[in-house]
Symmetry: C3
Subunit: 258 residues, 3 copies
C-alpha cells in the first residue's frame, strides 16, 4: 500500500499515480492533495494525524516549495512503515508519531534524485518513482532491505521540524494555532486536558463555553472542544470557528482557564 | 467493497480509510466527501441517487451534525447491501431505494458505539471501524450474519426521513428544490414526466423553454430539462441555473405547465 | 485498469464508478474530476499530459457540453491503451501522444450509444458502461478484439482537435496560454528550449527573470520557467502567475527573448 499526499490539487496527483503504477501494483490511497499549499508545518501536522491510522504502508508526501533546488530527497523507515518526500521537515512529525508505536527509532536515508525530466515537478519525476521503488523493495523483504539500495545513503534529515508545544501554567495556557480544518475549526496545540471540569474559558479576549460536542451550543455559537487530535479547538457549531475567533494558522492563543 | 461518503472535505476521510484498512482489505470507493455540510436531507438525496448504481457493497455515510451526542448509530441491510451511519435520517432514502430492487424489506440495527477516543470525529472512531466489521461479517456469510454481532440490536431507525414529494394537479406542479449540483443545476422533486410535450413552461415568475439537452438553448440561457434523476431541473446552458432562477435548496418551485 | 476524468465535480463521478463496478472489477484511478468545465481544449491538454504516465489502461474522459445531442461516441485504441469519450476533440491530443510511443497509429470507432436513461448524464448512462465493456473486451484479448464488438463501427473522429503550436522566429516567440494549473501557473505552448541561456525575457509588456525553479526568485515575485510539460510557464514563486501576468487560457503570449 502506498499513501499519497500533496498540495497539488488536480490533476497533477494523477501523473504521480500513473508513474507509480508503471512500476508497482500497490494499492494507492489518497491522504489529501489539498494540503495547505507550500505550508510545510501545517501539512506536517496533517500527516502526523493521518498516517498512524494506516496499516503498514509506504507514505509519499510532497509539499515542496524548494522543488528543483538542492534540497535533499528523504526516505525513512520506522515501525515497518516507510516514508518518502522532500527533506524540508515535512515527514518528521508524522514519522516520529509512527515510530512511537515501537521504540521510536527511525532509519533515515538521502536518496539520489536521479536525473529528473523537470525542475518543477519532482512529485512525478523523483518522488513517485522513488516511492514505487521503496515499496517494491520493502514489500518482500522488509524495511531493512532499503540499506541495500544503491540510491540510498544512511543519514539524518538535513532540515528539522518539531511542532511547537504549548505552555500550561496554573490557570493559563499559551499555545498557537497549528491548523484550520475544512470545517473552519481552529486546532491549537494546547492539550485538551486543560478543559477538564471547566464550564467556560477565555480564549484571548472572548469567554466561551466548553462543550463536549458541537451541538452543546446553538448553531452559529462559539465553543471550545477537545478535538479529535486531543487538542483544544476553537469551533462554531454549524459555522467556522476560525472566523468567529479571528484566528489563522500560527496565531498565538492564550487560554484563561481559571 | 466499501463506499465512503461524508461532508468532511480533506484530509479527514483518509483517517477513516486508514482505520478501515487496518481491519479489512476491502476495495474502497469514494462516493463524495463534499456532501453539503451538515445538510442531512440534501446529502440523503445524493446517497439515494448514487448507492443504487453500485454492486453489492457496504455503504458508509457520515453527515453527522449531532456527532458526540446521544444520537444512535445505525446499521441497515437490504438487497444484499449494508449501510452504516448516524441515525439521523441520512441513510433512509438511499436504503429504501436500494431495497426497492428486491422486496423493500430493510433490516435495521442500532450499534453499540463502543468507547470512541473523540467526541467530534466518530467517522474515524465509531463509523469506520464499524463499517469494517460489518463488511468483514457480511462478506463471507451474507447480511443475515449481522444478527450474530453482539454490538448490534435489531430495531427501527429513531429518526425518520422522507424526501418531500411534489403535488401535480392539472396544469400546475408545486414542488421544491432538493439539491443543487456542482454544475449549478437546481434539482426539483417534480417528476420529469410533467414536461412531456411542452415547449415552454413557467417556473415561479419566469417562462423558460423546455429542452432535452443543455445545448437546446444558447450558452448562458435558461431552460428546464428532465435531469438524470428523473426530475425537472432548472438549468442554464454553460452556466448556473441556481443563480439565474434564484433558487436554493428547500425553495418552493411552482411550475405552470399549461 | 480504467482511468476516469471529467468536469463533473462531485458526486456524479461516483455514479460512473458504480456503473463500471457492476460490470468490471478493474482497478479505477481518477485522473481528475475538476477538469475545466466544458472546456474541451484545455481538458484535452490535461489528458495529454497525464494519460501517457500510466501503464496500459482504458481511459474514460467526459467533458461533454453537447451531452444528449447527436454528437458521436468515440472509442480509440493505440499502443495497447484504449480511450472512451465524446467525439468532440477531447480524446485526440492525448491519444496521439500515447500512440507516439509506438507507430502513431490509432484505431477509432464510433459506438452505438444504446438507449440511455437520461439525456444529460451520458457519463453514467453511456460512457461508463461502454468503458467497462471496452475494458472487459480488451483485457483478455487485446485492442484488436474491439473490432468484434457489434456496437463499434470503424471510423475516423468526426470532430478534430489539435492544440495550437507557437511560432518561434529568431528572438521572438508568439504562442498562447494552453492551461492554468491549480498553482496558478500559466502554461504556454512555447517550447521551453527558447529559454536556454537566457537570464531575463519579456513576456508581453513585462520583463521577468528566467528561473530553473520557483525558488529562484523571492516569494511573490514573477518568473518564467520551463514547466513540467516542457513549455514556458509564467509563474510567481508562492503565488499565482496567472494573476501577476494577467493571463487566462487562450490569451496570446509574445516572448521577446533577445
Amino acid at each position: 500500500m502506498i499513501t499519497l499526499a500533496s498540495d497539488f490539487g488536480s490533476p497533477y496527483p494523477a501523473a504521480m499515480k500513473g508513474v507509480i503504477l508503471r512500476r508497482s501494483d500497490a494499492r494507492l490511497v489518497d491522504v489529501s492533495h489539498t494540503l495547505p499549499r507550500g505550508a510545510i508545518r501545517e501539512s506536517a501536522f496533517w500527516l502526523r494525524e493521518t498516517w498512524p491510522t494506516f496499516p503498514l504502508a509506504t507514505h509519499l508526501a510532497v509539499v515542496d516549495p524548494g522543488v528543483g533546488t538542492d534540497r535533499d530527497v528523504l526516505v525513512g523507515a520506522a515501525a515497518g512503515h516507510t516514508f518518502v518526500g522532500p527533506d524540508n521537515g515535512l515527514l518528521l512529525p508524522a514519522a516520529r508519531r509512527v515510530a512511537a508505536d515501537t521504540d521510536g527509532a527511525i532509519d533515515w536515508y538521502h536518496a539520489d534524485p536521479g536525473d529528473p525530466t523537470s525542475t518543477t515537478f519532482h512529485g512525478r519525476d523523483v518522488f513517485a518513482p522513488l516511492a514505487a521503488t521503496v515499496h517494491e523493495t520493502v514489500k518482500p523483504a522488509g524495511p531493512d532491505a532499503l540499506a541495500s539500495l544503491n540510491r540510498l545513503t544512511p543519514t539524518e534529515p538535513t532540515v528539522g521540524l518539531r511542532l511547537p508545544e504549548a505552555r500550561v501554567e496554573n490557570d493559563r495556557a499559551e499555545g498557537e494555532v497549528l491548523a484550520i480544518d475544512d470545517f473552519g475549526n481552529a486546532i491549537t496545540n494546547v492539550p485538551g486536558t486543560v478543559l477538564d471540569g471547566r464550564g467556560t474559558i477565555r480564549v484571548n479576549d472572548d469567554r466561551v463555553p466548553v462543550g463536549e460536542t458541537f451541538a452543546a451550543v446553538a448553531p452559529g455559537d462559539p465553543l471550545v472542544t477537545v478535538g479529535s487530535h486531543g487538542y483544544v479547538e476553537c469551533d462554531v457549531n454549524d459555522g467556522r470557528g476560525e472566523e468567529w475567533f479571528g484566528l489563522t494558522v500560527g496565531d498565538t492563543v492564550c487560554l484563561d482557564i481559571g
